[in-house]
């Protein structure tokens, strides 16, 4: 079914398409869901701003947790305990139980889709040991992470994409989703997208919409995330009146390459590397006299940040410290750390065998996101009900907060999250569509409003007009977030950051781009992305400023302890109501709750 009308702005046709389900985002979460739906003979559209196999899932190297017990004794209940503990007791225990129980099946499904998991000699799937995983509720180390060599995400993404092609999923490659279509009853009925190649706007009417747009590491200056990780689904949700949950919880890695972001693994310090400040002092001796450079990630991250804040940073701007490896000698570095050596040479022109490497904590993973239940339904507080489903809207993966990661995500649980909840959301959608068989009428005024927005930058800027540039505003935002909402969090710094981000958000209306062309207008895409980054940054810094405790990845210098009495609750931030809170779901599906305990490893 397709009709056309003429836009009053550019007189270019607006296409309208109808699908049972619209999925925005083509990473592992989106593609797992679309496959389930396409195989159920539903019409599914997947919208992706880049070619699907260029989604950030491709960068997940580590693997995927599942209690298969192929290497060490294991069961899902131990996996559940580790995940609850890792979340610092902020994770919802019903969702965590669901995920851990579903994990083995998720792995076997991937195997059937063609993912070449690494094998043991006996032919079973190999499982590696990862931090935070234990046997018997905190006992011996468990080996729980299934991997396809060091390219698990790549293998999963490519297999899922091929399966989707086979199942005839409809792809809108290189289309950008601008905003959701949400009617006055709160029901979501699709979205407006535009074709990045030629600027054409398409209205997608959908009975159900799934957001699977990934994380938002690009709100920070130093991040491991690809440029595409701009929190688009989170921004769209916020503009549709939906709060974001637990956004103060952002996982940082202590040693990113300064100014670039990519990781230098802990292995470099494990081999004898150590951090020095501008005075040449081995700084970790002061912060962790025993463990020194092998102290936990949060301790090392905070130490680096404090050194820089107190003026002992290196370089012309004194904004990083140095990781010293050259004392290990070229032979050791080449033998044990060849990848790190190559990365440093490529991105810095520095050979770590000859000179120290500039490092700074790098933002890695967004624990918070669009609040959902374990069926993938987006849920919002309505009067006294904390979790009322938004009809027609789902979210899965890093853009969602289901919440299985709570205050901190365990290694190997992110791929698991996207696959389990991508599938769960699809299954719920299948049931929903049986009861909602027909497209609902959309108020044309709502459609027109979003279409107009999609065309906002199609007019050339006024000659001589003096607006804000996207690149300038984005750089300011990333710097403010790094300085005020990074690993060093204290009330005054956060409050100042809130004011700065609010001020930057106020300048968004003056954004001006000088390119009004229709062909690959990346400036226009980046302007819309910045709007999403701004929304996510506001939610993140407001939530961080308000949470007066240290839990998981949210570490407050002025409130160093976890405070279960006041703060074992989820934060919710929306444009309309600011901050709100809801209880953690501490009751699992079938087993006893894990009560909060100190998170000691």
């Amino acid at each position: 079914m397709s009709t056309t009308e003429i836009s009053p702005i550019a007189r270019r046709p607006i296409e309208r398409r109808q699908f049972d389900t619209l999925i925005i985002g083509a990473g592992g979460g989106g593609l797992r869901a679309s496959l389930q739906l396409a195989e159920a003979d539903l019409s599914v559209a997947v919208v992706s701003k880049v070619f699907p196999t260029r989604s950030h899932t491709v960068a997940a190297q580590g693997g995927m947790n599942a209690a298969l017990a192929n290497v060490s004794p294991d069961n899902w209940h131990w996996h559940m305990f580790d995940t609850v503990k890792g979340s610092d007791y902020l994770g919802d225990q019903d969702a965590i139980e669901y995920m851990c129980r579903a994990a083995p099946r998720a792995v076997y499904e991937l195997e059937h889709f063609g993912v070449p998991f690494s094998r043991l000699d006996n032919g079973k799937i190999y499982q590696r040991a990862f931090g935070g995983q234990s046997q018997n509720f905190g006992g011996e180390q468990a080996s729980r992470t299934c991997a396809a060599a060091d390219r698990t995400g790549h293998a999963i993404l490519h297999s899922l994409y091929q399966q989707n092609i086979r199942a005839k999923t409809h792809f809108f490659d290189e289309f950008f989703a601008v905003d959701l279509l949400r009617d006055d009853d709160g029901r979501v009925l699709g979205a407006v997208i535009f074709n990045i190649q030629n600027g054409d706007v398409v209205v997608i009417e959908a009975k159900t919409t799934l957001l699977a747009t990934g994380g938002a590491g690009q709100i920070f200056k130093t991040t491991t995330n690809a440029l595409i990780n701009t929190g688009d689904g989170m921004g769209m949700a916020m503009r549709a009146g939906i709060p974001l949950q637990d956004m103060e919880f952002f996982q940082f890695h202590p040693t990113g390459i300064a100014g670039r972001g990519m990781l230098i693994t802990e292995g470099a310090r494990g081999e004898g590397g150590y951090l020095v400040n501008a005075d040449g002092e081995r700084l970790m001796e002061r912060y962790a006299p025993k463990a020194k450079d092998l102290a936990s990630r949060d301790v090392v991250s905070r130490a680096i940040s404090i050194e820089v804040r107190e003026g002992r940073g290196c370089g012309p701007n004194k904004d990083y410290v140095m990781l010293k490896l050259d004392h290990l000698g070229e032979e050791v570095i080449q033998k044990r750390l060849p990848g790190i050596r190559q990365t440093c040479i490529t991105f810095l022109g520095i050979d770590p065998a000859e000179a120290p490497v500039p490092v700074f904590p790098t933002a890695h993973y967004t624990m918070g996101g669009i609040p959902t239940n374990r069926y993938g339904q987006v849920v919002v507080p309505v009067k006294d009900t904390p979790e009322e489903p938004v009809q027609g809207l789902y979210a899965a993966g890093e853009c969602a907060c289901v919440s299985v990661h709570g205050g901190n995500r365990l290694g190997g649980n992110s791929l698991l999250d996207i696959l389990v909840f991508g599938r769960a959301a699809a299954n719920h959608i299948i049931g929903y569509l049986k009861e909602n068989r027909y497209h609902r009428q959309i108020d044309e005024a709502i459609v027109e409003r979003v279409v107009e927005k999609a065309r906002r930058f199609d007019r050339p800027a006024e000659p001589g007009a003096d607006g804000e540039t996207v690149a300038g505003l984005r750089a300011e935002l990333k710097q403010v977030m790094e300085d005020h909402c990074g690993v060093f969090r204290v009330k005054d710094v956060l409050k100042e950051g809130v004011a700065k981000v609010e001020q930057l958000a106020g300048r968004m209306k003056n954004i001006q781009i000088n390119d009004s062309s229709h062909t690959f207008n990346t400036a226009k895409v980046e302007a819309f992305e910045l709007e999403n980054l701004m929304a996510v940054a506001l939610a993140t810094i407001h939530s961080a400023c308000a949470r007066e405790e240290s839990r998981g990845a949210h570490s407050r210098v002025d409130f160093p302890e976890r405070d279960d009495k006041s703060w074992m609750r989820h934060s919710l931030y929306s444009f309309e109501t600011g901050l709100d809170y809801k209880p953690v779901r501490t009751k699992p599906m079938s087993v006893e709750s894990f009560p909060p305990k100190p998170r000691v490893y």
Partner: protein
């Protein structure tokens, strides 16, 4: 200033990995304008490779058996970030 073709390149340089984003965009910023039409074709072919293959080539974990590809990879690797 970049022509339309280079803007097209810029979107093709949006990848799933930060390392690729940085290396490819840096190359587009500084070197693409100076490429011959044939070299541009080779660059376009390289951009069609899967992310993991590209990463292995650009970080030197593997070497292309095609000397033309190997040459453009070398040019990308040697483009300074300064």
């Amino acid at each position: 200033m970049h022509g339309e073709t280079n803007i097209n390149y810029r979107w093709q340089c949006r990848r799933g990995m930060l390392e690729l984003d940085l290396l490819l965009n840096n190359f587009v910023d500084k070197k693409v304008d100076g490429l011959t039409p044939q070299q541009k074709q080779t660059f376009e072919l390289l951009l069609s490779y899967p992310d993991q293959t590209l990463l292995d080539l650009l970080l030197g974990n593997s070497v292309s058996s095609d000397p033309v590809i190997a040459m453009i990879v070398q040019q990308i690797q040697s483009t300074s970030f300064d």
